[in-house]
Assembly symmetry: C2
């Protein structure tokens, strides 16, 4: 079969990542929108019960099914977890192509499309996790593409589906539509004003979940928050998307209002913080990921508020990815001490900002 197992090196070229190099709707607050559909193959045990051979068969059949559509699968790549180093797997997590869970299991794989908008995780918790990521606030766009991928695959594969429940999944929380819609929001001013906690506890009551930058259980580095639906059953995909859209719109308004409300000394102090962050990013010799994320967040806010004029928002998206812990290791193709990572990260970010 046509399994092409290639190096993750080509993924380092962020110019190929569609969402990084464009700005979608409301991009002053929303970095990306993502839709994930959970699907399972009929009459095949759920992934955690699969033998290695069975797991390979699943990968094989999914990849083959995807290749049937020459448009969507153009320049697509298949990566088998068993062939990747830890750093490579971490890089895929940092770039949001796979979940930390997939990285932990040798039996998994991921297909990544040429424009990097589609990634299909295979043998994660479910046989298939079709993910689409779009720039800005555009969950509909992401959902439409994910549905197209879903349709293409369903022409070749039999999905486990129950007339009453909907799509069957390994974990009952995903049963039904199997959809998870999420938006990555940049909320620096609400964070600064300590209004996020109150906001997020209100969101829990609306069936939404907030996560940090790198998914479940991670911290919100760089003032970035992933907000997604919790419930997949008993609501249509459209309702779920509409619900998230309406909550996201309120948060966008709050963040914008908070930015506008900063006046006089408060505004000046923020501009000072932002300018210093730019100064540190363009001068420091050592930068940890977490620290870098904070400064990049400031610079992004500075661009959005008009304090910084020589940078485009897309360039900052790029920095968020570049600052990740594994990106640096992959660029230099060696295992590094944390100090070496901090040194190379500072160099790389400086070069990217000053070029």
């Amino acid at each position: 079969m046509g399994v092409r197992d290639v190096s993750v090196e080509e993924l380092l070229d962020t110019t190929k990542i569609e969402w990084i190099n464009s700005t979608g709707p409301e991009s002053d607050v929303v970095i990306t929108s993502r839709v994930r559909l959970a699907r399972n193959l009929k009459d095949v045990p759920f992934p955690h019960l699969l033998s290695r051979t069975q797991a390979e068969e699943v990968i094989d059949s999914v990849y083959r099914a995807f290749l049937k559509n020459p448009v969507l699968s153009k320049d697509a790549r298949l990566f088998l977890m068993k062939n990747l180093s830890d750093t490579e797997k971490n890089l895929l997590v940092e770039m949001h192509f796979i979940s930390p869970d997939l990285a932990k299991d040798d039996r998994g794989a991921v297909i990544i499309s040429g424009d990097r908008r589609i990634s299909i995780m295979i043998n994660e918790e479910d046989h298939l996790r079709i993910q689409c990521i779009f720039s800005g606030l555009d969950p509909q766009g992401a959902y439409e593409l994910a549905s197209r991928v879903d349709d293409v695959l369903e022409e070749q594969l039999d999905f486990a589906f129950d007339e009453r429940l909907g799509y069957l999944t390994a974990c009952p929380t995903n049963v039904g539509t199997g959809i998870r819609v999420s938006v990555m929001m940049h909320l620096p001013v609400l964070t600064m004003l300590k209004q996020v906690d109150r906001l997020f506890s209100a969101m829990a009551q609306l069936g939404l979940v907030v996560r940090g930058l790198y998914g479940e259980g991670t911290e919100s580095w760089g003032n970035l928050y992933q907000i997604s639906n919790q419930i997949t059953l008993g609501k249509s995909e459209e309702d779920i998307i509409q619900n998230l859209l309406s909550v996201a719109s309120q948060i966008i308004s709050s963040e914008r209002q908070a930015r506008r409300n900063l006046k006089g000394e408060e505004r000046l102090r923020l501009e000072d913080r932002i300018s210093r962050s730019y100064g540190i990013l363009t001068n420091s010799k050592l930068l940890s990921t977490q620290e870098a994320m904070g400064y990049i967040s400031d610079v992004r806010l500075g661009v959005d508020m008009g304090f910084i004029k020589n940078l485009k928002p897309e360039e900052i998206n790029n920095l968020f990815i570049t600052a990740g812990p594994s990106y640096i290791q992959e660029v230099f193709k060696k295992t590094m001490t944390p100090l070496e990572r901090d040194l190379n990260r500072a160099n790389l970010l400086r070069q990217k900002l000053l070029r």
Copy 2:
């Protein structure tokens, strides 16, 4: 008589200040050397006992005596404390032309020479305090010039002198030679390594005193320390200078050794701190004096250690003066809120660094 009372505005032009625009011996650690001679007029009460009229007569006679030497007094200016605003007096303190004590008394005055190397305080604690300030470690140079001024004045004035005690002064601690020799040292690495306290307590036993940037009781902003002799009686001027020189040499060695001993990660972390300080100085929108002094100290160290190559040490001397609290107010000729000062200071320092 020829009392010319002029604006302090011309003092803002730091290009005229000899010690700022040159580098003397050991200038990687020693910023300036200063000598001060205390003198009093025979048969005139000490300043704190003078009437206003008597005080004016003292000023008059000292200024007249100084003007007798056309070389030393070329472009010299006389400033009467009673005619200066608080900001103007504070500026003279910041620029090391007068002591905080002189600024407090309306009856005082100061003569400042054209090259700013000589300042003669009149009616401070003593009738005359002849001060000379030289770049780098050069107390002999400063002493020679102060002696010349002393000789010139003594040709016209009768100084209170006792064959056994030497020069008589208002405070017994200055009796004898009436000399105070001091060096302004920049000790960033000894400070970072927390070795200064131990060093300075050892120095107290050698009859030396350590003060902060703006004299007695002030803090050591910018890692700058003034070290001076305590004792003026029972030793010759030459011995006092030699004693200070020998202690200063040891401290210079210690600071240099400490700088050289920084290797590997420690050195890299210092370079990172220095580079960030440069980044903050060239980007921030608000800077307090104390904070600015810290960053300027880092940049100066960066220049001395070769981390920063596009600046000369003299340029940093200039920044130390520019960062002072009163300098900004005088430049903009208005009373400012602390926030406005911080804003204008940040702007001015940025312009000076990036020009």
